[in-house]
């Protein structure tokens, strides 16, 4: 490969992209291979596949891929804006700081949305007190880009009975079934439900010059040392760099987007690895820092021209944060599953995907079976123990010895409603290690979200028991106090009064500022958003390329 290109900060590149994750990595590849000059500013380091380890203490406990925990990021949380937010022990907003972003350490469960997700508001009517809305685009408009993700990013799977229509088959067969999948099938059959193959952003066989999955078992929370997980690090960044038009600039902590006298974005101001302030000039800025960081940066970029933050004339920047609520039922079985090996999930159930008015509340969800707490030993001990057994001593030890290989969990993931009260703002006191105002999260689930989680918890318990568990228990439904799914905070829409970007991801207020990440999503889907974030990024790239080639940026 030729020497990687480097740009001077004073040199005006075509695009400065903030963030190299699920959306930023795709936009970097699409724009650079189309011939545009691109600088990607990534706040994390440039780890490669060989840098990823199975070190549970470092990754799970010490937040290696998060760049440390709460003392570094200073994030605060409260459940109501009348309260003073406090800094919890674990950061409430969790994402990977590394080239490739959270596509590096996510579990790689990879569901498309369905047509109803885009127009549920029209189908069901308004829900008072919420910002429940239709998307400005349809499933049909996004479908070609889902297919592009399938083939370019690399998706393994097989169609299920309720799937949305697809224009091309999966490029690879599904990952083989695991014991948790076999047991979920058993339970589903008894209950008249339909277990189907889990689609994965993981290669079940070699694809696009990348190796297939070796079933090491460290997908959830960890980076893939085989490059088989379809992160943008594995699938997109190498193509972007090979174009000769794209510089990935790691360890670059963005503090502000500057605008000029015409209200156009002119440069991105960031701290280099030595903490020295730099400013990258660009014709246009693409903000893909995730649904929490993008909002923080826009709010931090307030100026005399934009007193409430950049691109925020609607006041919708940071609002409508959606996490997806979760439900967990755990079962212990007679024989060993050894479910810690291989990918997390091999079978899912989508019978409860759609809203059913007979339930008495809005919402839908998906169910999967996985080792979850039995994926690794420390995680098991911290969260997966039989609640009827003491936490130490002989009984504790005996229970761990018996259960670790025999346990699995059935997990439900739900919709979340968009609410004003759930949002990202700048904490007035707390700062992160770079001196930036810390992310302050305010979040309290809509009662329908919790009702849906309870409904799925009941179904999950039935499934665990029908699958033949000798012992089962539920985690209980608790209010959401943070999460990895960071959705809705810069939503797309046709009306500048109630959205931040238009249907092409161009901000309503700043003509050469594009925002594309989980924050673009108008509704939350049913719990696995990354596939949609990636499809949106491919689609945004097409619109941005078209605009740029007619000098309309």
């Amino acid at each position: 490969m030729a020497n990687k290109i480097r740009f001077e900060t004073r040199e005006e590149v075509d695009f400065a992209i903030i963030g190299s994750g699920s959306a930023g990595g795709i936009l970097a590849k699409e724009l650079s291979t189309a011939g545009f000059s691109v600088v990607v500013l990534e706040q994390g380091p440039y780890r490669k596949a060989g840098d990823f380890t199975h070190d549970e203490l470092s990754v799970l406990v010490r937040g290696e891929l998060h760049g440390g925990e709460s003392e570094v990021h200073g994030q605060t949380f409260r459940d109501d804006e009348s309260k003073t937010a406090v800094r919890p022990m674990r950061s409430p907003i969790r994402y990977a700081r590394t080239v490739g972003g959270s596509s590096v350490h996510f579990t790689a469960n990879f569901w498309r949305l369905r047509p109803i997700d885009f127009k549920e508001r029209s189908l069901l009517g308004p829900i008072s007190g919420t910002n429940f809305a239709d998307w400005p685009i349809t499933y049909e408009e996004l479908e070609p880009y889902y297919t592009k993700v399938d083939w370019e990013i690399g998706v393994s799977g097989a169609p299920g009975p309720f799937d949305a229509p697809r224009s091309k088959p999966f490029p690879m067969p599904p990952m083989p079934i695991k014991s948790s999948g076999v047991l979920l099938e058993r339970g589903a059959e008894k209950l008249g439900l339909h277990a189907q193959h889990e689609p994965h952003a993981i290669l079940s066989q070699p694809h696009n010059g990348r190796a297939g999955c070796i079933s090491c078992g460290y997908c959830m929370f960890y980076g893939c040392e085989a490059g088989a997980k379809s992160s943008t690090l594995a699938a997109m960044i190498p193509l972007a760099e090979a174009s000769g038009n794209c510089e990935i600039r790691p360890d670059s902590t963005v503090i502000r987007i500057d605008t000029d006298a015409n209200g156009r974005a002119s440069q991105v101001v960031y701290l280099d690895p030595n903490g020295v302030e730099q400013a990258q000039k660009a014709k246009a800025v693409v903000l893909s820092a995730n649904g929490a960081e993008s909002a923080r940066l826009l709010l931090m970029s307030a100026s005399a021209q934009h007193p409430d933050g950049l691109a925020n004339s609607s006041g919708f920047v940071g609002r409508n944060l959606m996490h997806n609520a979760h439900a967990v039922a755990t079962g212990v079985f007679e024989q060993s599953l050894n479910d810690y090996k291989g990918v997390q999930v091999s079978r899912i159930i989508h019978d409860f995907y759609e809203t059913d008015e007979q339930r008495g509340f809005y919402g839908g969800g998906g169910i999967d079976a996985r080792p979850l707490f039995s994926a690794t030993p420390i995680f098991h001990t911290m969260a997966g123990l039989d609640p009827d057994v003491p936490r130490w001593g002989k009984e504790f030890k005996d229970s761990m010895v018996h259960n670790f290989t025999r346990q699995m969990s059935v997990v439900g993931s739900t919709t979340s409603l968009a609410l004003d009260r759930n949002n990202i703002t700048l904490d007035p006191e707390s700062k992160d290690a770079w001196g930036r105002p810390a992310i302050r999260e305010t979040y309290r689930d809509h009662p329908d979200d919790l009702a849906m989680a309870s409904f799925l918890e009941d179904r999950a318990m039935e499934l665990v028991d029908a699958a033949g568990a000798v012992k089962s228990w539920r985690l209980g439904i608790h209010p959401t106090t943070g999460g990895e799914h960071l959705l809705g905070t810069c939503r797309m829409g046709d009306d500048p009064a109630t959205s931040v970007v238009d249907s092409t991801h161009r901000s309503h207020d700043v003509p050469n500022l594009f925002i594309c990440d989980g924050g673009s999503m108008v509704t939350s889907g049913r719990g696995q958003p990354t596939m949609t974030i990636m499809a949106l990024a491919f689609r945004a790239a097409d619109h941005i390329k078209a605009a740029a080639s007619t000098s309309n940026i």
């Binding site: 010490r62 083989p176 014991s179 090491c216 090996k341 911290m382 030890k397 005996d398």
Partner: protein
């Protein structure tokens, strides 16, 4: 020179000089064995980087009750105390002071309930467990619990989980590079029929 014997002798000497022969009696044979093996491995006179002998004794005793040695190995055999020491010397150095304060309060409570015991390890196992139960809601207990778990199950490079004792105990086959299907009993029934890989 016989490095092994030299280190071992140095450990015993240094321990003796710290607390006299009574200290050695207080250490269970298992702790001495681990201390010796760690000395051997590290070729160093002192087995601990930051912990004093009494502190190490107390932490080791607590860990030994949290994950006891039964017919299978426990925290003692896994060398969890060396995780405590390594962590307090490095990543958790910021918590060492709090841990020491917590341990002092723990021992003060012990003095109150068992005036003659002096150390947890002097009590019978049942009495140790009964006393630990009274400490469960203390922050110090939580710290000791978490560190025992980390020391039992984290990679052995952190000082504990010696020879992957913790992983072996629960049937976790460790930091393996790759696995072949089937993994367990239930998927074996399917893969057996279906020529695995689907």
């Amino acid at each position: 020179m016989d490095q092994k014997n030299l280190s071992r002798r140095r450990f015993l000497q240094s321990s003796g000089s710290l607390a006299g022969t009574a200290y050695l009696r207080l250490l269970g044979p298992a702790v001495i064995a681990i201390a010796e093996s760690a000395c051997t491995a590290k070729h160093t006179a002192s087995p601990f980087k930051v912990l004093g002998a009494d502190e190490a004794n107390d932490f080791a005793a607590i860990a030994a009750r949290l994950i006891p040695t039964t017919d299978t190995p426990g925290a003692t055999e896994a060398g969890v105390i060396y995780f405590f020491d390594s962590a307090f010397a490095a990543e958790m150095s910021g918590q060492l002071e709090a841990a020491r304060t917590g341990l002092a309060a723990f021992n003060a409570a012990l003095d109150e309930s068992h005036p003659d015991a002096r150390r947890l390890s002097n009590l019978s196992e049942d009495d140790q467990d009964a006393f630990l139960k009274t400490q469960e809601s203390e922050q110090f207990f939580g710290l000791a619990w978490a560190m025992t778990i980390f020391g039992f199950f984290s990679m052995s490079k952190y000082g504990g989980n010696k020879d992957n004792i913790g992983w072996d105990l629960i049937g976790f086959e460790g930091d393996h590079g790759a696995w072949q299907y089937p993994f367990g009993y239930y998927d074996a029934q399917v893969h057996g029929e279906a020529n695995h890989g689907e």
